[in-house]
């Protein structure tokens, strides 16, 4: 896009300033994580500290089982991302490209599914997981499988809606041209359509990851007696003592929780760029 040089410079300065403002609370979170206890909630808050200490991080990392909880969260989040990408892409293609009865109804139902306040569903889901656990133990209560199932179920509706828009944006002529070239529908779907909706896939995967990674409600509802299967947010909970919350540790653990998501995005961001280039060329 041809933008005049000084105009672009101003725009860039504004962008960086805004980025700073948006990032400030994050900086404050990190800062609180390294401040000594007396300074976190003091009468004289400063946006710096002369006595940074890693004590809070130490308290967090030495919480019994922290490493295990971290891996549990990571496993659940990654599995949910992969499965939701696959399932939502297939469903989005079906709902956009194929004509069949009841299509609109299904689409609307997936939208409705997102509207139900999730807290209200914890009891029915608890009993459901108990029943599923009777049939397939790996997906029952107290197992990580139950978390995968439920996060998948709750991120699919949005993912399908999101990808719909991207799939719909790919012109029909493209598919027709591919058919003329002799490509089967399967081939077209996976080798041509899939890369073209890459930006949509990125958005879906980031959202699914964040949703599964930060989830607290289902982990605390389903994982009751097997504490080795707890996830990371539950590890933070221990620092919220009713009368004496350990803010340094809360901030340190929140910082530790934020980092993998950022890493995930950075990794996926590259795919976004190449995907976009592909989409524009097409």
């Amino acid at each position: 896009m041809a933008v005049k040089r000084p105009g672009r410079l101003v725009a860039e300065i504004v962008t960086v300033v805004i980025a700073g403002i948006v990032a400030f609370p994050l900086y404050w979170m990190l800062l609180s994580a390294v401040k000594p206890p007396g300074e976190i909630q003091s009468a004289d808050p400063k946006p710096w500290t002369f006595r940074p200490s890693l004590d809070s991080f130490e308290r967090v990392l030495t919480v019994s089982g922290f490493g295990r909880f971290f891996l549990n969260s990571l496993l659940v989040a990654l599995v949910v991302v992969v499965l939701s990408l696959l399932l939502s892409f297939l469903s989005a293609v079906a709902l956009t490209r194929f004509a069949f009865k009841g299509r609109t109804v299904l689409l609307v139902m997936t939208l409705v599914a997102q509207m139900v306040p999730v807290e209200a569903l914890t009891i029915p889901l608890f009993f459901l997981m108990r029943q599923i656990g009777g049939v397939v133990p790996a997906f029952g209560l107290n197992e990580l499988g139950s978390l995968v199932l439920v996060h998948l179920a709750f991120s699919l509706p949005f993912a399908i809606w999101m990808l719909r828009g991207f799939v719909a944006a790919v012109p029909v002529e493209l598919e027709e041209a591919a058919k003329l070239d002799g490509a089967s529908r399967m081939r077209f779907t996976w080798q041509i359509l899939f890369p073209l909706v890459a930006p949509g896939l990125v958005a879906v995967s980031v959202l699914a990851f964040i949703h599964a990674w930060n989830d607290f409600l289902f982990a605390k509802t389903f994982i009751i007696s097997k504490t080795e299967n707890q996830t990371l947010p539950q590890a933070i909970l221990v620092f919220f003592k009713p009368e004496d919350t350990d803010w340094g540790a809360v901030m340190a653990s929140s910082t530790l929780m934020t980092i993998p998501v950022l890493v995930f995005f950075v990794l996926v961001q590259r795919r976004l760029v190449s995907g976009m280039a592909g989409a524009v060329k097409g």
Partner: protein, 424 residues
């Protein structure tokens, strides 16, 4: 044709009922196996864990073929853990630690064992402070062994009091006056830091004035907060949330923790805090500049009845090791380990002999022990109370009065209506 889905839906709804768990089922009394124990986690768990490990070692030595498996439950997440145990007895432990405010709600699920007889025949049971033991009861039956207790007293700034020539207040009216004087002389301090949400600080005012939260007759509870004495107490507390003491703009929404934090940070001349708050205050800016006295009542020399918080050790009905579970809680809740828990965590013991012994050796405990001995009170022992608590009925009333949104009679009438609705 279009009605078909509707009709089908109605038919489904009419014919079915929500899922329920099967009742917990009878327990057993195996003498070997693994005893599962749920204890509350602490941010710094090591001292508590060490004391518990000692108890477990002693227990295992006395019982062959027995293992003890401890799970640490974060206090803030206990509701779901216990719900999970109630809704799926396979998840339930043999022994659990829980707060005394949760007793009635848990008892209503039928999941906890009735320990009335067992505690009566326990040789150390006679030493349990009666008012503390009462907090473990619901419907006349005892559902837990009181493990430790916590009460609140008046923290005040010795330097500010000396500077202004004040003495620790001996009545609640004097407390209000002192608070005004402090703020008048030092406008950047709160006279006393209390909050609209700090119900456990408000209750002593209500009780000291002779009021009650609710009365029980024929097994049915009815709210009593509209009584004249209750109204006087609540209003006296709400009057602390005024611009001349603790302005509503800052204080109307403060919880207990936040009130104590303000004091610890040097922002207030007084506060109402618990024995469990001492560590936080010591770490704050007011270290070395404060002292504690029991919260006074309405007449000189009296002590306002404090709310007796505390944790209990209970046994699940579905436990397969009932005898072992009982012995374990009697060991952990006995004098020896209550003393160790005090050393580890600073928790106030529930056995009066241990209390006296510790008070003698640690003077900072004295005001709290005195408060306990003067007599504590508790909230209505009914499952409806946790509903009233989570609906913020009392804080709302206090906040309405403090901000002038409603006058005391109207605010308390609303509160009484909400309470009666919850009592059923």
């Amino acid at each position: 044709m279009r009605l078909l889905p509707f009709v089908a839906a109605l038919a489904l709804l009419a014919g079915c009922a929500p899922t329920q768990s099967a009742p917990a089922g009878a327990g057993a009394d195996d003498k070997t196996g693994t005893v599962r124990v749920w204890l509350f986690d602490e941010a710094n768990r090591a001292p508590k864990e060490a004391a518990v490990k000692e108890a477990i070692a002693e227990f295992k030595a006395a019982h062959a073929g027995v293992e003890v498996d401890v799970q640490w439950v974060p206090v803030e997440g206990r509701a779901d853990k216990f719900s999970g145990a109630f809704n799926d007895p396979a998840n339930a432990p043999d022994v659990a630690e829980f707060g005394n405010t949760d007793v009635s709600g848990y008892a209503a699920t039928g999941a906890l064992a009735d320990l009335t007889g067992d505690l009566a025949s326990w040789n150390e049971g006679k030493d349990l402070i009666p008012t503390v033991l009462d907090t473990a009861k619901s419907g006349g039956k005892t559902y837990g062994l009181p493990w430790y207790t916590g009460v609140r007293a008046l923290y005040y700034r010795t330097d500010v009091f000396t500077e202004l020539g004040l003495k620790p207040p001996s009545t609640l009216a004097e407390l209000t006056d002192d608070a005004r004087k402090i703020r008048a002389a030092k406008p950047d301090l709160y006279g006393i830091s209390v909050g609209g949400k700090y119900t456990y600080a408000m209750l002593p005012f209500l009780w000291a004035n002779g009021g009650e939260l609710a009365q029980q007759s024929d097994g049915k509870w009815k709210s009593a907060v509209t009584g004249e004495q209750a109204k006087a107490g609540v209003t006296q507390y709400a009057n602390l949330l005024k611009d001349d003491i603790c302005p509503p703009a800052q204080c109307a929404n403060l919880t207990g923790t936040q009130s104590v934090t303000a004091f610890a940070g040097g922002k207030a001349g007084m506060t109402i805090g618990g024995d469990f708050n001492r560590k936080a205050v010591e770490q704050g800016a007011v270290k070395g500049k404060y002292a504690v006295v029991p919260l006074p009542g309405t007449t000189a020399g009296s002590v306002a009845p404090a709310f007796a918080g505390g944790n209990l050790l209970g046994v699940f009905n579905a436990s397969k090791h009932r005898g072992l579970a009982l012995e374990f809680i009697e060991l952990l809740g006995g004098a020896k380990y209550q003393e160790k828990m005090y050393t580890a965590m600073g928790n106030l013991p529930t056995l009066s002999s241990v209390q006296q012994k510790l008070a003698a050796s640690d003077p900072s405990l004295k005001p709290f022990v005195d408060t306990l001995q003067a007599g504590t009170k508790f909230v209505p022992a009914t499952p409806a109370w946790s509903k009233i608590d989570s609906q913020n009925v009392l804080p709302t009333a206090v906040q309405q009065i403090a901000t002038g949104g409603k006058d005391p009679s109207a605010a308390l009438a609303d509160a009484a209506a909400a309470m009666d609705k919850a009592f059923g």
